[in-house]
Symmetry: D2
Subunit: 311 residues, 4 copies
C-alpha cells in the first residue's frame, strides 16, 4: 500500500467538504432528487489488500449505471464473445447521437455502457430465467464480488424508474423492432431498473471492483474472469464509461471508470487499486462533480494513471 | 528489454507474410493507391533503449494522420490548454457523425485526431508563420524526436492531396464559417497536406514516439513535454486514435496508438515501448489490416497492455 | 362532370392491368402482406356529384395512414389551433430523419401525417374518452363523411399491428418522455392501431373526401369544417402526405393527397374532384406503385392540377 | 382584374406601415445588414395583364434566393430532366438537416432551392461557358422575363458574399468530393454569388414571374417553358420555397412562392396573379416578416389559394 494513502484520502475528503461547486442531483429519478449534495464518500482498496476510506464511505447509495459493469461481466460469462454481435464496443458521442446511431446501425447499440447497450445486456442475462431469478443472480454476483451479503435492491428506486422511464421503454422497443431484444420489453426493463437500483456503499463498490485491478482474480476467492476479459472490460470502461465525457475523464484522470447518475464512480488502476467515490451532485455531463474532482486529486497525489511510465 | 523481443518480432513478421487477408490501400490519395499490400514492417524501441525490428522497418512511407500526434504536441507547446477552447477531447463516432457533430457543436471538432480537429491544430501551428516556415518547424520537431535529419516531406503526395482534398476543404470552410479557422483555408490546408505527407520508416516513427512512453522525456535530449501532457496525449490516442475503431483497438490491443491511411500505426506502452508498424492494406475502418493484427500479436506475446495488472 | 370521365377511368384501369411493375405489399403488418398486387381500384367523385369508378373500386381495404386525415380533422374540431403547439406543419424528410428531428425538436413531431404526429393526434382525440368511445367517434365521423354506415374496423389487422408495432411504441414513449403524450401509451396506440385498421373501398374513400374539395362543405349534409381549415388540411396533404416522396408527388401529380401502406391514396382537386385509388403493391417510398401511376395518368388526361392556370 | 385590387394593395401597404414587429435584416451578408426595416413594397400583376402596386414597389433590392427560380428554369432548358439525377425534389427540413442529408445522400442535395441544390444548378448553367457569360445569360433571361433591360447585378453585394460565404464554399466542396460539382468551386460560386446579387424591384419581379402563372406563356412574347414544366416549378416552390417554413407558408398562404434573404418573396397564383413583396426584416425562419404577412392578407382579401375550390 502507498504508505500515506489514508492521509491522501483524508486530505481529499477535507478538500471536497470545502468545495462550493457541488453540482445538482439527477432530477428525473424520484428518490435521487432529494439527496443532499453535502454527501461525499471515498474508498480505496489496493492490490495488496489495504483499505483507506473517508467521508460517507459506508453509506449505501443507488449505483445506477455502475451496475452495467457487473451485468456485462455476467453476460460475458453466459454467452462470451457472441455478445458482440448484439452490442458494439465504440464510444457513442452524446445522448442525442446515440439514438441517431441506434437507428443508423440497425438497432445495435454502440457499447454496453450506454442505456441501450445495457438493456441488451439485461436481455441476455434474462435468458432462461424469470425476472426475479435474473435479478437475484446479479445480486448474488455483486454480493460475492463485494464479499458482503447485506447488499440489496432499493425497491422504491426501482419502482420510481419503472414509472418514469419512458425513454428507456422507447429505446427497448426500437431495438425490439430491429429484433435485438428477445424478451418482453416489460420484463427486460423490470430487470434493468432493478439492477440500477442496487444500493451499495463506496467500500462495497471498491471491494466489488477488485477483480478488475487484478487481471480477473478475486482475492481469497479465485478467478472470476480470464485476464483477457478483465483487460477488455477495463478498456470499455476507459473509452465508454462516462457518457459523452469519457474522453475527458481519460484525459484528466487516466483510469478506467464507470459513473452512475446516483453520483457514484467506480475507478480501477490495474495492479494498483480499486476505488469508489460518491457525491450526489452531478456536473453538466451527468457525472459526479465532486467524485470526478476527487479522483483527479487522487491521481495527482498517487501518480496512478494507466498512461504513465511509472507510478 | 524483454529478452526475446527480437524473436517475437521475427515471428510476427513471418506470420504477417503468411496472412492472406491483407486489406486494400487507400484509393483516394494518388500515390498511396499504388502501394503493394505485400509490404510489412515493424519496429520496437523499448524504454531501456533497445531496438527490435523486422520486415520493411526501414522503408519510408507516408505517415498521414500519425502526424497529428506531433502537430498536436507542437500546438500544445505554443498555446497550451487554450487549444481546448477550439478542439474537443471526445471520441467522434463514425465519419458521418463527425460532420453532424461539427455542425451541432458550432464548428468545434470533437478531438484533435479527426481531420477537422487536425486542421484546427494546423491553423494554430501556422500562427505568426508563413506556411513554409510552419511546415519546416514541424519537420524539424519530428527530426529532433526521431533523432534523424534525413526525414522529408514527400512533395508528390502533398500535391496529390491538395488537388483532391475537397472534403477537407469543405471541413475547413465550415469551421471558418464558425470562426474556428483564423488563417486562409488555402494556407492552412497547404500546411496540413504537407504535414500528412511526411515520409518516415517504422524505425524513425518508433524513435519519434519515445517521449510518449517516457512521461515526456526524450532519451539523450531531455524533457520534450511535461509528464502530465504526455499522459494526456496518450489518453487522446487511446480514446480517439483509430477513427471509429478506437474502442475496438483499445479492447483488442490496449495501447494508446494513432493510425494513418498510409498504413502506419504508432503505438505506445508507457514505461515499456514505442512501437511502429506499417502495411499499406487497410481494413474496413481505415486502419492497417496487418498493422492492427501485428500489434495484437505483440500485445499477446509481451503482455503489454495498459489495462493489465502486470506485464 | 368532365364528360368522358368514366372513359378516362376505364382506360386507366385497363392500363394498370397491363403494368408489370406492380410493387410489393407492406410486409411488416400481418394481414397486408398476403394481399395480391393484381388488385387495382379507382373511384372519382366530382364537385357536381357525378361518380366514375372501375376495377376493385368497391372492395374494402385497410386505409392505414389515410385515416390520419380524418383523425386530424376531428382533433382540429376538438381543440382547434391549439393542436399546433404539439405538432408541427413541416415536411419531415426521410424516416430516419423524422426520428432525429423528434429528438432535436423536443418531442414535437414535424407534422400530423408522420406516425409520431398521428399518435399525438390520437392522444388528443382520446381526451375525455375511453378508447372504445374514441374509436367509435372516429368511425361515426368517417361513416358520416362517406355517407355509408357499413364501414367497420378490421379487428384482425388492428390486433396484428398492436402485436408488432414496436417502433410506434418507441415513438410514443419518446414523446411521453417529453410530456407530449398525455394518456397511457397503451391506450393511445390502441386507438391509433384501430384507426389505421378502418376498412374502406375506393368509392367510400372518395365520398369521404368530398368536404376537402368543397371548401369544407359536405354535399347534402352541410358544413363540416370552415373553408380556411379545408384549405389548410389540403396544404398539409400536399406538403406532407406521402412520407419522403411528398415533393415528388406534388411535382408529378400536383394534387393534395394522402397515402397509406395498405396501398390506398386519397387525392383532392379543390373545386373539381375527390379521388381514391388502391393497389396493394408499394414503391420504394412506401406509396402505392399503381395508385401513384394511375393518379399521374388521371392528372394528365383531365388537366387537374392545383399548379395549373386552367383545367 | 379583381376590380378592387389596387384598393386591397393600398390597404395592405397602410397596414404594413403600422406593423411594429418588422423582423431584422440578414446580418451575414455585408450590404444587406444596413437596410432599413421601414421599407415595404408590393406589386401584383394579374393574368389579364393588370398591375397594382404600392409602397417601395419600384425600389430595387437584392433578390438573393429568388434567383434560384430563374436559374432552375434556365438549367431545365439546358439539360431537361437529367437535372434530377443531380438534385432531388423533396423538402429538406432545417438547415442542420440539409447538411446531414447531403452527407447521407452522397452529395445529392434535396432540392434546387436549398443552397446546395442551387449551387449544382449554377454548375449546370456554367457548362460550356466562362463565368461572365453564364451570369450574362441568366441576366438576359431575367431581363427578358421582366421585359426590362435595366436590371443589373449589384457587384458590391456579389463581392461581399464571395468574401464571407465560407459555408457555401464548404457545401460546394462537399459535393465536389462526391463528384456532383463538375467545374472549379471558385468559378461555380462566382456565378452563384452574382446570380444572388441581381437587383430587382417588386414590379420587375412580379413581371418576371408571369410565365409561372400562365402555364409557361409569357404575355406578348410566347412560350417560355412547357405547361408541365411550369406546373412542376410551381410545385417545387410550394414544397421547398421557404426553407424550413415551406409547410407553414403553404398552410397559411397557399401559394407557390420563393423567398430570399434580401427580404423579397415571389408568389404565384396559377391563372390569377404573379406577386412580389419586399421588406428587409426577416422572421425567425429567414423569410420576410412583413412580406409573409402581406401575402397572407392578400390571400384572405382575394381568396387566392391553390387549395380552395373557387376564388
Amino acid at each position: 500500500m502507498t504508505p500515506n494513502l489514508q492521509a491522501i484520502v483524508d486530505e481529499i475528503v477535507a478538500a471536497m467538504a470545502a468545495e462550493t461547486e457541488r453540482g445538482a442531483p439527477a432530477r428525473y429519478i424520484p428518490g435521487l432528487a432529494a439527496l443532499s449534495t453535502d454527501r461525499f464518500g471515498m474508498a480505496v482498496v489496493t492490490a495488496d489488500g489495504a483499505t483507506a476510506m473517508g467521508g460517507d464511505a459506508e453509506m449505501p447509495f443507488s449505483i445506477q449505471s455502475i451496475s452495467k459493469v457487473f451485468a456485462l461481466t455476467m453476460a460475458l460469462g453466459k454467452i462470451g464473445d457472441q455478445l458482440w454481435r448484439r452490442v458494439g464496443r465504440e464510444p457513442s458521442g452524446n445522448a442525442f447521437n446515440s439514438i441517431v446511431q441506434l437507428e443508423a446501425e440497425h438497432g445495435i447499440p454502440r457499447n454496453p455502457f450506454i442505456n441501450a447497450g445495457a438493456i441488451v445486456v439485461a436481455d441476455v442475462n434474462l435468458s432462461g430465467h424469470m425476472p426475479r431469478e435474473s435479478i437475484g443472480e446479479l445480486l448474488r454476483f455483486v454480493r460475492f464480488l463485494a464479499d458482503d451479503e447485506t447488499i440489496v435492491v432499493d425497491e422504491a428506486i426501482a419502482r420510481g424508474e419503472a414509472e418514469t422511464g419512458y425513454r428507456n421503454i422507447a429505446l427497448a422497443n426500437y431495438m425490439r423492432a430491429f429484433g435485438n431484444i428477445h424478451h418482453s420489453v416489460e420484463l427486460v426493463l423490470g430487470c434493468y431498473f432493478h439492477q440500477c437500483a442496487i444500493a451499495m456503499s463506496c467500500l462495497q463498490l471498491a471491494m466489488a471492483g477488485r477483480f478488475l485491478m487484478l487481471d480477473g482474480m478475486q482475492p481469497g476467492a479465485g478467478r472470476v474472469i480470464s485476464p483477457r476479459r478483465a483487460r477488455r472490460i477495463n478498456a470499455l470502461m476507459l473509452t465508454c464509461g462516462h457518457y459523452d465525457a469519457s474522453g475527458d475523464f481519460a484525459f484528466r484522470i487516466g483510469m478506467p471508470g464507470k459513473s452512475g447518475v446516483g453520483g457514484g464512480i467506480l475507478a480501477v488502476v490495474p495492479g494498483k487499486a480499486s476505488i469508489a467515490v460518491w457525491s450526489p451532485g452531478l456536473n453538466a455531463s451527468g457525472n459526479s462533480q465532486l467524485g470526478t474532482l476527487a479522483l483527479e486529486r487522487l491521481a495527482e497525489a498517487t501518480g496512478w494513471s494507466i498512461f504513465r511510465a511509472r507510478a
